[in-house]
Each structure stands twice: as structure tokens, then as C-alpha cells.
């Protein structure tokens, strides 16, 4: 059974979280993400869950991690300034391997910026905003439907891989209204619980899957959770060989699952001379521009990373021999990842950072220019 409804991206994200089984939300209001908190405040107590408006984003992120440790699927949502504040505890969630989902509905500008204007300027913050070497999963929806489905996916990844997953939305998809099919039977993944009794439980076991089984607080498995680099038993360690082993597992744990984590869409690539690499809201005008360009006989295709971190570099590498155009609503962030694959020679940029959307005609013009 599915239900089709007209809704905003933020609303679809909230619905996706509910479909995934979210039972806890902690947040702090900030445009353009606030609707997610408002919907959670209304709906969570109805399903036996908990909504709490915290005193700031640092506290929100902390509360989400605390809730997840008790077994609740937990969500928070914010935008640039709040995303900055969450970084310390995002790092904590990643290092302690506590599943949770963080939505960042991007807005324009550094600092307070242009609060109601769209941007895609947190791509690097989503990857490297918290300190230290760490894995990151970052998803980028470009339609309202995808806001729904990817939020479910984000929870699934968070639970399966025991990490903080970032839904990197933007003001456009967050506030856009589109028809959405609320698919009801999407696969739902829950964290793997220990299969051994408490006395044999190794909370941060260096097992083959690289993902230790997770016991929730209050279920008889007493263990220690710390942001200090820890041994397999969860206790802090200063021993280089133990620290090294833990960090090697932590930083490589997603590598075993890239084929499932890296999602992308491609269109009209088979004969394309130019590949437009576009994600999030920018993929929308790019699609239109490609249709127009094709009418002019310009062979352009689309590669749309849905998972932007870990960046699907392997897929991009298969497109060698062509030129690339990477339009972004920032000063050039993801383009660096394309350049890492092929070098900068045939990789073109198109950037806008004034809070205005990139239009199809701007992109078409750029396509003409590069293909001339």
C-alpha cells in the first residue's frame, strides 16, 4: 500500500523518518529546516516516541546520541549555523559508533548568511566538519520523493553501519512541494544486537564485518562508551597498537560495503561527450539543460551522485575519455572529487554563490561554451 500526497521536502523527510521507525527527535529551530522539528513535535508523541526542543544544537546532537544508546532510532535536523555546532558530537557519534541521522537543510553563505536562500555549500563540512580521520555517509536528495526514500535509507545505513548519517538537503528540496508516494513497505534495517550473553559481549569487537554488534543501555550488557580512543572492550587506551587497530577499523569500515552505500543515477551517458555531474537541487535545472542541449545535437549526459560521501569515484572513473561539467551552488566543492579521478584538464566548473538558483539556460550556455 502506498499513499500519494502533495508535500514539502521537509515534510517528506519527516514522513520518511517515521516510516523508518524514528522514536526520538531533539532539535533547535533554524530556517530552512524547522518544519521537520515541528512535524516531529506533533507526531512523535502520537506513536509513543519523544520530541524535545533542546537549548541549542550541541545539546540536540548530544540528546540524539543518548536516546540512540537506549535503542531508539533518533533524528535531528538543522541548517548551516546549527550544523557547525553539531560537529563535535557528530564526531562523538561516529567514534562511538552510535547510529543516528542528522539532516542539514543547506542555506546560503558562511556564518548567518542568507537564511532563506538555497546553497550547496556544506558539502565539505558534511565530510570533514568534525575533527580527526573518520568515515562519513552523506546522502543528497534532489526531489521530494527522494527526501522520503533517502531518509529511510539514511536510517538503514545508520543502523547497519553504526554511524551518524547525514542527509544533506537544501532549501530548494526542503521547501519545494511535489507529489510524493509514501511507499509503505520499504525495507527497514535495525541494528544488529549481540548474539552472545553479556559475559561474552565485546562491545567494540574487531570482527570481520568491521561493524560490532550493538547492545542498548538497560538490556543487561553493561559496557563503556567513550569518545576517547578505545580498545575492543570499550575502555580507553593509549597503546599505539590498540589505538591503531581501532582507528584502522573505524576509518575503513565502510569500504566493505561501498557497492551498497554508493548510490547514483545516470541518464543519457552511453553516447555522451560531456557528463554533467550534478546533485541535490542543481540536478533539476541540469536535467532540463541536457534535454535542450540534446535538441541542439550536443551529446550531454547526467551523472547524479545520490551518495555524495563516500564519493562514487569508481563509477566516475568508468566514464573516462569524456569531459565533465560540475555545476554547484558553492564555489566548487564536489568538483574536486571529479578532478581527483581525472585531473583538472577536462573538468569544468559552474558555480553560483549569491543565493540564486542556477537556471537551465545558464547551464545550457555553459554546455555550449565547453563543447564549442
Amino acid at each position: 500500500m502506498s499513499e500519494a500526497r502533495l508535500m514539502q521536502g521537509n515534510e517528506a523527510c519527516a514522513e520518511g523518518a517515521l516510516a523508518a521507525g524514528v522514536r526520538f527527535f531533539a532539535g533547535y529551530p533554524i530556517t530552512p529546516s524547522t518544519e521537520i522539528a515541528e512535524i516531529m513535535a506533533e507526531k512523535l508523541p502520537l506513536v509513543g516516541g519523544t520530541f524535545i526542543q533542546m537549548e541549542d544544537e550541541i545539546g540536540s546532537m548530544a540528546a540524539v546520541i543518548g536516546a540512540s544508546l537506549t535503542g531508539a532510532k533518533a533524528l535531528t535536523a538543522t541548517s548551516g549555523p546549527g550544523f557547525s555546532l553539531k560537529q563535535e558530537n557528530i564526531g562523538f557519534a561516529i567514534a562511538t559508533e552510535v547510529p543516528c541521522v542528522v539532516v542539514d537543510v543547506q542555506r546560503a553563505g558562511p556564518s548567518t548568511g542568507l537564511p532563506t536562500s538555497p546553497a550547496q555549500a556544506d558539502v565539505m563540512q558534511a565530510r570533514w566538519g568534525t575533527h580527526g580521520d573518520h568515515p562519513a555517509i552523506v546522502l543528497s536528495p534532489s526531489s521530494v520523493q527522494e527526501c522520503y526514500e533517502l531518509t529511510v535509507q539514511a536510517f538503514n545505513f545508520a543502523e547497519e553501519f553504526r554511524t551518524a548519517v547525514i542527509m544533506l538537503m537544501d532549501e530548494v528540496v526542503g521547501h519545494l512541494r511535489e507529489k510524493v508516494e509514501l511507499i509503505e513497505n520499504l525495507p527497514i534495517v535495525n541494528r544488529k544486537r549481540p548474539s552472545v550473553p553479556p559475559d561474552r559481549y565485546i562491545p567494540y569487537e574487531n570482527n570481520e564485518s568491521r561493524i560490532p554488534d550493538m547492545a542498548n543501555f538497560g538490556e543487561g550488557y553493561r559496557y563503556h562508551v567513550t569518545g576517547l580512543t578505545h580498545a575492543e572492550n570499550g575502555l580507553p587506551t593509549g597503546k599505539p597498537e590498540v589505538a591503531g587497530k581501532f582507528l584502522a577499523r573505524l576509518t575503513s569500515k565502510l569500504d566493505l560495503y561501498l557497492d551498497r552505500i554508493q548510490l547514483w543515477e545516470e541518464a543519457e551517458l552511453s553516447d555522451a561527450d560531456l557528463v554533467a555531474v550534478a546533485y541535490g537541487c542543481t540536478a533539476r535545472p541540469v536535467r532540463e539543460a541536457i534535454t535542450a542541449a540534446r535538441r541542439e545535437g550536443l551529446k550531454v549526459g547526467l551523472f547524479r551522485p545520490i551518495t555524495i560521501w563516500p564519493f562514487p569515484a569508481g563509477q566516475i572513473a568508468k566514464l573516462g575519455g569524456r569531459s565533465f561539467l560540475v555545476p554547484e551552488m558553492n564555489n566548487g566543492q564536489l568538483v574536486g572529487e571529479v578532478e581527483r579521478v581525472f585531473g583538472p584538464k577536462n573538468v569544468h566548473r559552474y558555480n553560483r554563490i549569491d543565493g540564486e538558483l542556477i537556471t537551465p539556460s545558464e547551464i545550457l550556455e555553459k554546455i555550449r561554451e565547453v563543447m564549442a
Binding site: P45, R222, T226
Partner: protein, 268 residues
């Protein structure tokens, strides 16, 4: 180790990191004795801490333990308690942890009157980072970042908690450690946000710079300056110990549960 409470410790985590003469171990013992007296189910107890010497306590305790980020322990604990109110949640913090970087979370946890038992280990200093002044360093006392004496005045943490909406507040010292155990028990039994200020000694980062030659001198100072509340007025450098305030107010998680049930009955 005292055998009657050894079951509450992770012996594999020992030896502990604390300096000889440090008071944190005494506070840890008082907490464990309180939990033993209360006969709480070990599996149901969560102890959350921030960052600092005090906060390293969680590593040694055999409960569900969470050693968080500097100043954020109460916010993590709020998430735990709100998501699973049946857990018994204790929060251990340092004075800098709770009053400086965590001041905002402290005020709001008190304001919500969420059922957490908070223990602030007040050693008047940033111990872990080597003796910088904290918001609880007394006026004129010396620290590495107030080498000529502290120009600022210390925060009255219990008064802040009370003003913000906490429903129980008490103070004891590592010298008065039986009182400390007792007020932790009372704090736990209060259904709401409870604060215990545990005055403790840091001989290494505070005592040395402030004319305390030995840890014993610091305990003697506590003995001589801690005045049981209600017995007499306090003089210079003296401070009240015992129960400082108690109040009644709705508790956050119980109110939230009432809301869920009201909604279930279809009443918005």
C-alpha cells in the same frame, strides 16, 4: 578496594588515572555506596560524565557508562532519560565541565526538572588540563591562568540550579563523605532534577598553588569550613553543607508520558 562494593567496579580498568591524594575517588565511593544502599539494579543504572579528571570516573564503574564531550553530559543524559525514563541516570561532572562549557545545558536540565541525579565534583579548578581557573575558583585564589589571583567571583552553582527550577540541591565534601553518600541517596529519591555539589580536593593542580601543603590540609580545610545548613550563619570562606534546597515541580519525563497517554485517548 572495599570488597562489599567491588562488584560495582570494572577491575580490568584499574589502575585509575587520579593523582595520589585526589578526592575524586572518594566521591566515586560515595556514589557507589549510595547505589548499593538504594539497591538499584546494576543493569538499569546509567552513569554519564563529561570531560575532565572527574569525568573519568565512568570508565571504572560497572554500569551502563557514557563518557561524553566536555560540558555536554547533561544533554546526553537528557536524551537517555527522555527516551527511556525507566533507567536510573546519574551524571558526574567537573566544576568547569558543568559550570563553564556546560553552563547552558546545566540551566536547562534544571529548568526541565528532568529526573537526573547530577553530581558536580567541585575541586575549584580545571584539574585535567593542569590547573587553570574555573568558574568555581574562589576570588583571589591562584591558578595557572590567574597567576596573580582570580579577579572573578565564583558561581553559586546550587543557587543557579534552584533559580533555574531544580527540585533538590545539596552539598557535601570528601571529608564529610558519609553525608555525601546520604545526599546522593536523597538526590536520587527526589523525582526531578537533583544536584549534589561534592566539594573535593585537587592537591596537584589547586592545593600546591594555594598554600595547601598536603591533601590532608585540604581535607582539614573542608572540615573547618563546611557548616551544616541550619546550624549557624556562615563566615568568611565557610560554606553550607547538607540539604540546601528542596522543591516540588512537575518532572519532564512524567509530563511527557501524560501527554502520550492523553493523545492516545484522542485528546489533543
Amino acid at each position: 578496594m572495599f570488597s562489599e562494593i567491588s562488584e560495582y567496579f570494572r577491575t580490568e580498568a584499574l589502575p585509575h588515572i587520579w593523582c595520589p591524594g585526589c578526592g575524586i575517588g572518594t566521591v566515586m565511593q560515595a556514589l557507589v555506596r549510595a547505589i548499593k544502599t538504594l539497591q538499584l539494579d546494576q543493569n538499569n543504572v546509567v552513569v554519564v560524565s563529561g570531560i575532565g579528571c572527574s569525568s573519568r570516573m565512568t570508565g571504572y564503574l560497572d554500569f551502563n557508562t557514557l563518557h561524553t564531550t566536555h560540558g555536554r553530559a547533561l544533554a546526553f543524559a537528557t536524551g537517555i532519560k527522555a527516551a527511556k525514563p525507566e533507567l536510573d541516570v546519574f551524571v558526574v561532572m567537573g566544576d568547569g565541565d558543568a559550570a563553564a562549557i556546560g553552563g547552558n545545558h546545566f540551566i536547562h536540565a534544571a529548568r526541565r526538572n528532568i529526573d537526573l541525579t547530577a553530581i558536580v565534583i567541585n575541586n575549584s579548578i580545571y584539574g585535567m588540563t593542569g590547573g587553570q581557573s574555573s568558574p568555581l575558583t574562589p576570588h583571589d585564589k591562584r591558578a595557572t591562568t590567574s597567576p596573580y589571583g582570580n579577579l572573578e567571583r565564583p558561581l553559586q552553582l546550587l543557587a543557579v540550579a534552584q533559580a533555574a527550577g531544580a527540585t533538590y540541591g545539596a552539598r557535601a565534601t570528601t571529608y564529610h563523605n558519609q553525608l555525601l553518600t546520604k545526599v546522593i541517596i536523597d538526590a536520587y529519591n527526589n523525582p526531578g532534577f537533583s544536584l549534589v555539589e561534592a566539594v573535593s580536593q585537587c592537591p596537584v593542580s589547586y592545593g600546591r598553588r594555594n598554600k595547601f601543603k598536603t591533601p590532608a590540609d585540604m581535607l582539614r580545610w573542608q572540615k573547618e569550613h563546611g557548616v551544616m545548613k541550619g546550624h549557624k550563619e556562615i563566615g568568611d570562606e565557610e560554606f553550607f553543607i547538607g540539604e540546601i534546597f528542596r522543591a516540588q515541580a512537575p518532572e519532564y519525563t512524567r509530563e511527557y508520558e501524560k501527554l502520550r497517554q492523553r493523545l492516545q485517548r484522542g485528546q489533543r
